[in-house]
Point group: C2
Chain length 529, copies 2
C-alpha cells in the first residue's frame, strides 16, 4: 500500500458497497505483499468470560447505598443554569442561590431506569459499527495527550502531522475499533478551529466511529454535524442513530462544570451517547481508600447519568470508571496499580448493577515504553477485561499518565490488544480440536511437528506477534539484542508507510469541506470557556 | 543488615522461638534503617476471586473424557519395572514385554479419589509453613535455568556463587514463599554432589520450604533426609509431615521415565508431595490445538497422579499445567501467549474437577527484561491467578523460556508479585473505608490531601513499588531516563547487601553438615541416570 491522503472517486450512492469492494481489494493487496504487517480482519469482539466479582453483593450494596447518601445529603455542584433548570423541573432539591443539587435516591434510580443496556455506535463505514454493552468489547487508542514521542524525534508538543500519523495508525490496525479522542493535541492549530480540522480528519483519514470533546456547546454541535454529514443522515435520522460519542468528566470531587453539562445536554438531547467518567484519584480528588474513591466515583457517575436521562429518557449512556491512586510520596497519579485493578473490577460490578455499558482504560504511569509501561498497561487491561469493560479507552500508545502519546508504545500495545483479541476467542473443543486421533497417531515418545493434524493447522493455530521476539538468545544477540522498543520503531514506520486512506463518497467529502470552511469563516468556536 | 553467611548461635531447642525473636529484631533494624527496602511481612495469601471458567462444564467434560480415552485406549509408557509391577498389582493393563500401560477410567478415578484436596507444606521455620490447595496462593522464583544474567557481568553459565545469590534474594523478599528448585544450575559443582550442596544451601541460606529434583532415587532420598534433619523430625514424623516437594515432568507425549517414576515412588511412599506437570507444548510434544494439548496434559497428569495414589493412597499431590504453544515459524517455545493464558485457565478447571491443588507458572520467552518480558510474565500471571492456581512457579527471574535466570528480572518480578499480593487483598468496605464523612468534610471542589481521613491512612493506603518510577517526565529525564531494568540493578545489589542469614539451631546445622560430609565421602549420587 502506498501512503496517500487522496480520496478516491466513487459514484454517489455507492459508498457503502464501494467501501466494501475497495476494502477487499485492499486486503488482497496486503496479502499479496509478503512484507505487509499480518493482522486479522476487523471483527465484533465478545468477552466469553463471566466478569470477576471483587466484592460481594453485600459490599456492592454498601458502596451503592453510600453513593446515594452522598447524592441525597451532600450533593453535587451543577455549574450551569440550563442544567439546574432541567434538574429542578425533574424534582431535584435546588436553591436558586447555589449550584448544589441534592437528588434523592428515588429520582436517581428512576431516571437511570430509562437508560438502554446497550446500543450500536455507528461509523461512516457500516462494517465498523460497534455494539456498546452486553458482552461486547471495543477499544480505542490514547487520547488527549499534550505531547507525543518517538525514538527518532523525542518528546515534543503534538502537531497536526503527529495527530494525523496517529489517526493513520488507528486506521491501519484492524484491532482498533474507534477513534477515542485526539491521540495528541495538535497545538499548531488554533483552538477555535482545531475541532473542525481534527474531527474532519477522523472522517477522511479513517472510516471508524469517533469521539468528540465536550468543550463548549459549539464544539459538540459542530462535531455532531460532521458525524451527521459523514454518515449521510438527515437530522431526524441522526437523532435516532448514535453516531458519535463524548466523554464527560466530572471535576472531582462532586462537580460538573458548564462545558461538560452542555455536552450532556447537547449530546443526550440528540440521542448521541455520552460516557460519564469521574476522575477519582484516591488520595487527591477522592478519599484515600479504594472503597471511598469508588463511592465518590459512583455518586458522580450516577449524578451525570441520571441527568442525561432527565435531558432525554432513553439517551444512550456509558458508566465510566477511572479510579486510581496517587503516589503518596509525590502526589503523582499512578496507573495499573493493584488499587487500580481492584477499582476496575468493582466499577464493572457497579455498572452491571445499573444495567449500563461499562468503560475502563488501559493506562500506565511510565515515562518510556519499558517493562514498567508494559506491566502497568497489562495490569490495567486485566482489570478492564476481567471487570467486564465494554469500552476500553487509551488502550494503545498511552504514556506518562496521559501526558504523552508514544508512537512505539502504540505499536507495542497493538500487539497486546491483538493478543487480548486472541485470548477472548472461545476455545474450540470440537472432536477435531480434542485431537485424540492425532495423539494416537503420534503415540508415546513421538513428535507432532510433521503430522497431518499439525500441518493442516499450524499457519493459523496461534497468534503471530508483531513485536515479540522469540528468537533464541544467540540469534537475538547477533542481531544486536533488540528490545521490544527497538522492534516497535520498525513496525511503526512500516504501518505508516502501508497506511491507505479509506474511500469516501465525494459528495460527502464536498459537503464536509463546505461545512468546515463555513464554520472556519464564522470564527470556529469560542476559546474563552 | 550486614551481608553474612554466619549462622548465629542459639541454645538447642530454642530455634523456633529464637527465630521469631531474631525475626522481630531483624525487622526493627530494617525499619530503623531508612534506606532499607520496604516490604510487607511474609503472609498466608488467599485468592479472593472465584476462578474464571474458560470452557463450559460440557466442554470440560469433553476434555476430561477424551483424556480418559487416551489412558484407556492409547496408553502411557511407564519406563520403570518397579512402577510397572505396582501398576500391574493395582489392575492396570500391562504386558511384560512392553512399557505401555493402559488404565481404565474406573482405575484412574478411583485412585485419584484418595488424593487430599489440600495439605500443609512445612518449612524449617514454622512461620513459613504453606497451605497448598483451597484458595491459598504460593509462589517461588525461577528454577532450573542453566544460565544466569545481570547487567554488570552479562549472561553466563550458573555458578555456586550465582546460585547462592539467588537464594539470598529468595530469602530477602518476604513475598517469595518457597524455594522452587535451583534458580540456576551451579555447573561448577560436580553433578554427583551438587544436590547435597544445593539442598543444604536451601536449609542454611533460607528458612523457607523447598523443592528437590527427581533425578534418580538417591537424590530423592538425600533430599528428603536433609529436609527431615532440617525440620528436626523423626523418620516416623517425617512420613506424616509434608516437608519437601518435587516436580515430576512427563516426557511428553505420554511417557514417564525412570527418574521421574522413582521420584513418585520415593516421595509418595514417604508422604511427601509431588507436582505432576506435563510439558505439553502445542505443535511440538502435543497437538497443535489448545484443546488437544490440554487433553494430552490431562492424560499425562492423571496417569502420574493416579500412580502416586497407587503407591500410597492419600499421598499429597498437585496437578501441574504447563501447556503453551510454539512459534510455528521457528519451533521455539513461547510463553505468556493468548493460548498459554487459555490453557492456564482450563488447567485450573481440570484440577478443581479432580479436587486437587493446581500449579501454574509466571513465565516468558523474552531474552532481556524489556517490555516483552513484562507483558509475557503478567499475561502468564493473569492466567495463573484468574485460573485459581495454588502454586505459581518460576514467578521471579525467569527469562528466555527458562534458559536464563535474570537477576534484574528477579527484582522486577518481586515488584509484580508484591502488586499481585496487594491486588489479592480483600477490599475493605467498612463504613470508615466508604468514607462518606470524609467526602462530606471535603465537599464539592475540595481536595483530600490534607484531610484527617487521608493523613491517618496515606502511609499504608497504597502499595509502594520498589521498581516503578512515578516521577514526572522532566525529573525522570534529568535523572538520566532510567528504565525499570536500570532501577532493578540498584535494588538487586541493595537486596543482596541487606541479606541476613536466618538463624539455624546449631545441633541441626551440625547434623546436616555431618550428613552431607558422609554422603560426599560415599561419592554422592550416580551421574549416569
Amino acid at each position: 500500500m502506498a501512503q496517500t491522503d487522496e480520496i478516491e472517486g466513487l459514484a454517489p450512492g455507492e459508498e457503502a458497497a464501494g467501501g466494501r469492494r475497495r476494502g477487499r481489494r485492499g486486503r488482497r493487496e496486503v496479502q499479496g505483499h509478503s512484507d505487509a504487517i499480518e493482522q486479522k480482519p476487523f471483527r465484533a469482539r465478545r468477552n466469553p468470560f463471566a466478569p470477576v466479582q471483587a466484592v460481594s453483593e453485600d459490599q456492592l450494596e454498601a458502596i451503592h447505598s453510600a453513593s446515594l447518601d452522598v447524592l441525597e445529603n451532600i450533593g453535587v455542584d451543577f455549574i450551569n443554569s440550563e442544567a439546574k433548570a432541567l434538574l429542578k423541573a425533574a424534582g431535584a432539591d435546588i436553591s436558586p442561590s447555589s449550584d448544589r443539587i441534592r437528588m434523592d435516591r428515588g429520582l436517581v434510580l428512576e431516571a437511570l431506569a430509562s437508560a438502554p443496556e446497550e446500543f450500536i455506535l455507528h461509523a461512516r463505514n457500516p462494517e465498523r459499527n460497534l455494539k456498546v454493552g452486553g458482552d461486547s468489547v471495543i477499544w480505542s487508542g490514547v487520547a488527549s495527550a499534550p505531547n507525543c514521542a518517538d525514538a527518532q524525534r523525542g518528546r515534543r508538543p503534538g502537531s497536526q502531522q503527529d495527530y494525523r500519523d496517529f489517526l493513520r495508525l488507528s486506521q491501519a490496525f484492524n484491532v482498533i475499533d474507534l477513534n477515542g479522542g485526539y491521540p495528541v493535541e495538535p497545538v499548531d492549530i488554533h483552538a477555535s478551529v482545531r475541532h473542525l480540522d481534527c474531527i474532519s480528519d477522523f472522517v477522511t483519514l479513517t472510516d471508524k466511529a469517533f469521539h468528540i470533546y465536550s468543550l463548549g456547546r459549539e464544539r459538540n454541535l459542530d462535531g455532531m454535524e460532521i458525524a451527521r454529514i459523514a454518515l449521510g443522515l438527515t437530522h431526524e435520522e441522526f437523532e435516532r442513530t448514535p453516531s458519535v460519542i463524548s466523554i464527560i468528566n466530572s471535576s472531582s470531587p462532586l462537580r460538573l462544570d458548564t462545558p461538560m453539562l452542555q455536552g450532556i445536554i447537547e449530546m443526550s438531547r440528540r440521542g448521541q451517547p455520552i460516557v460519564l467518567t469521574p476522575f477519582t484519584l484516591a488520595g487527591a480528588m477522592a478519599p484515600v481508600t479504594v472503597a471511598g474513591a469508588l463511592v465518590q466515583q459512583n455518586a458522580e457517575a450516577l449524578a451525570g447519568l441520571a441527568f442525561a436521562q432527565i435531558v432525554r429518557p432513553g439517551a444512550p449512556v456509558v458508566y465510566g470508571g477511572f479510579t486510581s491512586n496517587v503516589d503518596m510520596k509525590s502526589g503523582a497519579p499512578a496507573f495499573g496499580t493493584p488499587e487500580y485493578m481492584q477499582a476496575a473490577l468493582v466499577g464493572g460490578q457497579l455498572a452491571r448493577r445499573y444495567k449500563l455499558p461499562y468503560r475502563s482504560s488501559a493506562v500506565c504511569a511510565a515515562n518510556s515504553p519499558d517493562a514498567q509501561a508494559a506491566w502497568e498497561t497489562v495490569f490495567s487491561l486485566w482489570g478492564a477485561i476481567m471487570g467486564g469493560a465494554n469500552y476500553i479507552k487509551h488502550a494503545a500508545g498511552w504514556l506518562e499518565g496521559g501526558l504523552t502519546a508514544g508512537f512505539e508504545k502504540f505499536v507495542i500495545d497493538i500487539d497486546l490488544l491483538q493478543m487480548m483479541d486472541a485470548f477472548l476467542q472461545p476455545l474450540d473443543t470440537s472432536p477435531d480440536a480434542l485431537a485424540v486421533e492425532a495423539i494416537r497417531d503420534v503415540g508415546p515418545g513421538g513428535h507432532f511437528f510433521g503430522t497431518a493434524h499439525t500441518q493442516a493447522r499450524y499457519k493459523t493455530a496461534f497468534y503471530p506477534p508483531i513485536i515479540s521476539d522469540w528468537r533464541n538468545f544467540e540469534t537475538w544477540r547477533d542481531a544486536g539484542s533488540p528490545t521490544a522498543y527497538d522492534k516497535a520503531q520498525v513496525v511503526c514506520r512500516k504501518a505508516l508507510a502501508e497506511y491507505e486512506a479509506p474511500p469516501l463518497d465525494p459528495a460527502i467529502a464536498e459537503e464536509l469541506a463546505a461545512f468546515v470552511a463555513r464554520r472556519k469563516a464564522e470564527g470556529g468556536a469560542p476559546t474563552d470557556f
